[in-house]
Structures are given as C-alpha cells and as structure tokens.
C-alpha cells in the first residue's frame, strides 16, 4: 500500500494556530459531548412527557403523543437538521429569523434542538414501553391510595418505569451521542468534522479517522460503564 504513514502528525501544529492536531480533535470531542448532553436533556424531558401522554386515558393526549412520535421518527435526521437550520428562519417573521441566523454558535444551538426533538421521539417510545410493561395493579394501587393521575405517575409508575428502561435508554443515549456527527452538515465542529478537517489539512486520512474511531469507542465504553454503575445504584433492593 503506497500510503505514507505518519503517526507523529498528532503532535504537529494545526494550521489553525491554536495548537496541535491532537488539540483539534480534543476540541471536537468537547463539542460532541456538549451537544450530546444538552440535547439529551431536551430529549429526556420532552420524550418522557410524550411517552406519558401516549399512556394516558385521554384520547387527545394520545393522539398528540402519537403524532409527535410518527412525525419525528419518519423523517431522516439529516433532513430535520436542514429544516431547523435553513427552513425555519425563513418561515419566521423576518426580524426573528435574522436574529436566529446571527446567533453566535448557531450550529450548536440548532444541533442541540434538532437532536433533542429527534431523540425525544425515541425516548418517548421507550418510556411508553416501560410504563406498559408494569403490572396494571400499580396504577390501580395509586388510585386506591387516593393519588391523582399526576401523583400516581410521579410516585408510583415513573420511578419503576425508568428503572425498567434504563438499559434501552443507555443505548438511546449512545445513539444520540453518535447522531451529533450529523450536525457537521450544518457546520458544527464536532469530533467527526474535526477528524475530517485534520485529514484535509494534513492529508493523513487514516491517522485522523483512526484517532476519531478510538475516541468514539472509548467514550462508548465510559458511558456503558457509567450506566452499569447507575443501574446498580438505583436498583430496588431485592427486586431481581
């Protein structure tokens, strides 16, 4: 293979002048993590809300929840990215649209919101499945205790449901983390984007992508380990 390997490339200065290529990848990693965490907050709360709505007795709440999930699950994430970034500002009143475009770090905020809404539809499905997996007696017990619907969910159903769905939620979290790379199409300088620009500047394709690959694998391992600790930490004693 006629390819000039150069693993020392990471310690050479990048043309951005702010440090070495390794620093460049590291700054990408930080953006990846920041985007993943911020969007996860949106996804978690919005997804829980939508998921709960789909289990409520109210037909209207059900319909809204279902519509939300279907809408966000059936459009590719990349298209959603473009809708938020390019289409939304044009549909808003002009002054608001312009303000949105002038926002510093616009790709970051857009990416966070887009991913948050997208992942929320997947979280909602997990939450719904979790709630429906619980014995019906739990809901009835809540009612028998004189709890309102809100109280039943808050004190009885959700604490149990979240414990049940912790493993699938971990993989949704990881999916969300990986999906941050799609935001490179709207200019977010996350890890994959940084690996790509390192490749463009240094022409060391394989070194750049190998480094990014290793970093992703490492982050995955950290998340999985953390999740298993969390699982053990929140387990109800005696319930398994």
């Amino acid at each position: 293979m006629n390819y000039n390997w150069n693993w020392g490339i990471f310690f050479e200065a990048s043309p951005e002048g702010t440090g070495t290529y390794a620093d460049m990848l590291l700054s990408g990693l930080l953006w990846t993590i920041a985007t993943a965490l911020c969007s996860w907050i949106i996804a978690f709360f919005l997804g829980s809300l939508v998921g709960v709505m789909r289990t409520l007795p109210s037909k209207a709440a059900n319909a809204v929840g279902t519509a939300y999930v279907e809408l966000f699950r059936n459009i590719p994430l990349l298209v959603q990215m473009f809708l938020w970034y390019f289409v939304l500002p044009e549909l808003l009143p002009q002054s608001l649209g312009n303000a949105l475009k002038q926002l510093p770090n616009a790709p970051f905020y857009t990416g966070v919101v887009c991913l948050g809404f997208f992942t929320a539809s997947r979280v909602a499905e997990q939450v719904r499945a979790g709630i429906q997996s619980l014995p019906r007696g739990q809901k009835m017990a809540g009612t028998a205790m004189g709890f309102t619907v809100a109280q039943t969910y808050r004190y009885v159903i959700l604490p149990n449901a979240y414990r049940v769905i912790l493993p699938p939620m971990t993989s949704e979290f990881l999916n969300n983390l990986k999906n941050t790379s799609v935001a490179l199409t709207i200019g977010l300088l996350e890890l994959t984007a940084r690996a790509r620009s390192m490749q463009e500047f240094s022409f060391q394709v394989f070194e750049a992508f190998t480094a990014a690959t290793l970093i992703y694998v490492l982050v995955n391992l950290v998340v999985i380990t953390a999740a298993s600790f969390l699982e053990r930490g929140v387990a109800v004693p005696g319930q398994r």
Binding site: P15, G17, E90, K101, P104, N105, A193, E200
Partner: protein, 307 residues
C-alpha cells in the same frame, strides 16, 4: 459538433507529438494510470458540483465547464496515445474534502475543477499545466459594508472545507488575532448559501469562483467582493496521481498543445467572456496578463511567483 472537430484536431496534434521523447512509451512498458486505462478501457474524471465555470452541473445536472473540457481533451489524448478504439469516460462527483483521497485511492484518475496547485498538495498529488490563476478574497452583502480583511474582525465567515482558502483564513485569523468564527461548508454553493441566508457575514474563496457565484445569484447587485486579497494569485491545475510520470507526460503534452493553440484562447473566451449554461450568465472576466503569459508558455509550477 464543435466538439467533434476539436477532438480530431487534437488527435492529429498528438499523433505528431508521439515522437517526443517523454511520451514515446510502448505498450509493453506501460505503468500506473495508463496501464490501468489500457487494461480496463475506462478513465474516470472527478468533477465538482458548483465550481462555476470550471466544473459544475448544468440545467440537466450534467457536469460541464472550462476544466471539464480540458479534461476531456486529456482523456482523448490518452485514448490516442494508447491507440484504443473505444474508451469509456466515467464521471464521479468529488468535493473539496474528498478529491485528494479519491485521487490517491484510485477512485478518480483526473480531478477537474478549481484545485489550487501548491507545494503542500504536491506531496499528495501532482498537477498538469496551470489552467487558471486566482487570488483569495471574500464576498459579502453590500449592506454590511465590508471591504478589507480587517473589516471581518469578530465576524462569522464561511469557507469550503478542504480548500487552501479555509487554511489561509484560519492562519490569518491566528496571526492577526481577528476573533473570527469560521464555518466549514461542504461545497461552494452551500458556502455561498450561508452568506445569502445571512448565516455568515462573508465567504472566503478564490475570487473567480466568488465572481461566478455572485453572477449566478438571484440578486447579483446585492453582493460585493473585497478589494484586499488574502493571497497572491495562485495557480489552478488538473490534479493527477503522484509518481505517475507516463500519465503526467501525456497530460502535460495535451494541455500544452491546447493552451498554445488558438483553441486555448477560444476555450477561455467561451467560459469566461460569453454566456454560459444553465442560465446564460456572462462572467465578463477578460484574461489577465499572467494568464496570457501562461497560455503562451504553459507551466505546472506551484509557486505563485513563477507566473
């Protein structure tokens, strides 16, 4: 029609050129790209989406342009050189970011577009004779009143990822402490779009590409190109695989012949001084002095000072 005549003319020209020492390779000692083309009966040209007027998609989404025509001449020369009855010309889209890896990994044989020939890239690829010279500037909306490089301080600018221009603006940003936010875009059209939709204040690119993007926009009068350049005029070349002397010799001979003939001038006029597809815009860019010199005695030097 015009094409057919031009092709025959070139074939004759090359027939004569075959006696030159550099390209007298016999079939049995072919190497690299020429051997591959001979074996597979096909050559692959990498084209760009939106490098107007060098290589871009016309109304029917077919790649056309100044550099595309040059590449087709090179392909013809290869066909003649190898004495092939039939040779398929395949087309493959490339972006600024993918072109160099794709040349290196053999996906494409010729990269036809607006690729700056510089010493850095010489380490990865090689270039045939220069087909254009251009300096780095930026385009912005007139109402922003930006003209000099320093006017950009603290603003958001966009450039195409994988270009020398994004490297230059990054370097300028550090050296002059400009505090820029630099967004990388996938291609020139996407980058210009960022300025058009107000996502970025300026688009840093080769001035010729900026001029054609402005001319092709919905409101050409709304934009202005900076007067202060960020770099000296740099050469564009057709990119070839490195360490492939036989192929380069054929490409060099074909382009030299083309540029020195009246056809070279005609080709320039066709794409820079006459209406071009898809919307019949005239770029009105008369040939610069350096460019005239280049056509008279073609060079493949990566050094801006050589022109």
């Amino acid at each position: 029609m015009q094409f057919g005549i031009a092709r025959r003319g070139l074939a004759v020209a090359l027939g004569l050129g075959l006696s030159l020492p550099g390209i007298s390779a016999r079939a049995e000692d072919l190497t690299g790209t020429l051997k591959k083309v001979k074996d597979t009966g096909a050559i692959t040209i990498g084209y760009r989406d939106s490098s107007v007027p060098f290589s871009y998609l016309d109304g029917d989404q077919k790649p056309v342009g100044y550099a595309m025509e040059i590449c087709l001449k090179i392909a013809d020369a290869v066909k003649t050189h190898l004495k092939l009855d039939k040779m398929e010309v395949k087309l493959n889209p490339v972006t600024s970011a993918t072109r160099i890896p794709l040349i290196a990994n053999g996906t494409i044989d010729l990269e036809c577009g607006s690729t700056t020939n510089n010493p850095d890239r010489q380490k990865q690829a090689t270039f045939t004779n220069t087909h254009f010279l251009t300096a780095t500037r930026y385009v912005s909306k007139k109402d922003k009143k930006l003209d000099k490089i320093d006017d950009l301080k603290g603003r958001t600018v966009v450039s195409t990822s994988g270009t020398t221009n994004i490297k230059q603006i990054n370097e300028a940003n550090t050296e002059r402490k400009m505090g820029l936010t630099i967004l990388p875009a996938k291609d020139h059209a996407e980058a210009f779009l960022m300025v058009e939709t107000g996502r970025a204040d300026a688009f840093v690119m080769d001035d010729v590409l900026l001029a054609s993007l402005v001319a092709g926009s919905k409101t050409p009068d709304a934009y202005t190109i900076s007067s202060e350049p960020l770099s000296k005029p740099e050469p564009y070349g057709i990119m070839l695989r490195k360490d492939d002397a036989q192929f380069k010799a054929v490409a060099d001979a074909a382009t030299k012949k083309l540029y020195e003939s009246p056809e070279g001038k005609a080709l320039y006029t066709k794409w820079f001084e006459q209406p071009i597809p898809p919307r019949n815009i005239n770029l009105k860019l008369p040939m610069s002095e350096a460019m005239q010199k280049q056509l008279k005695s073609p060079s493949d030097s990566p050094d801006p000072a050589a022109y």
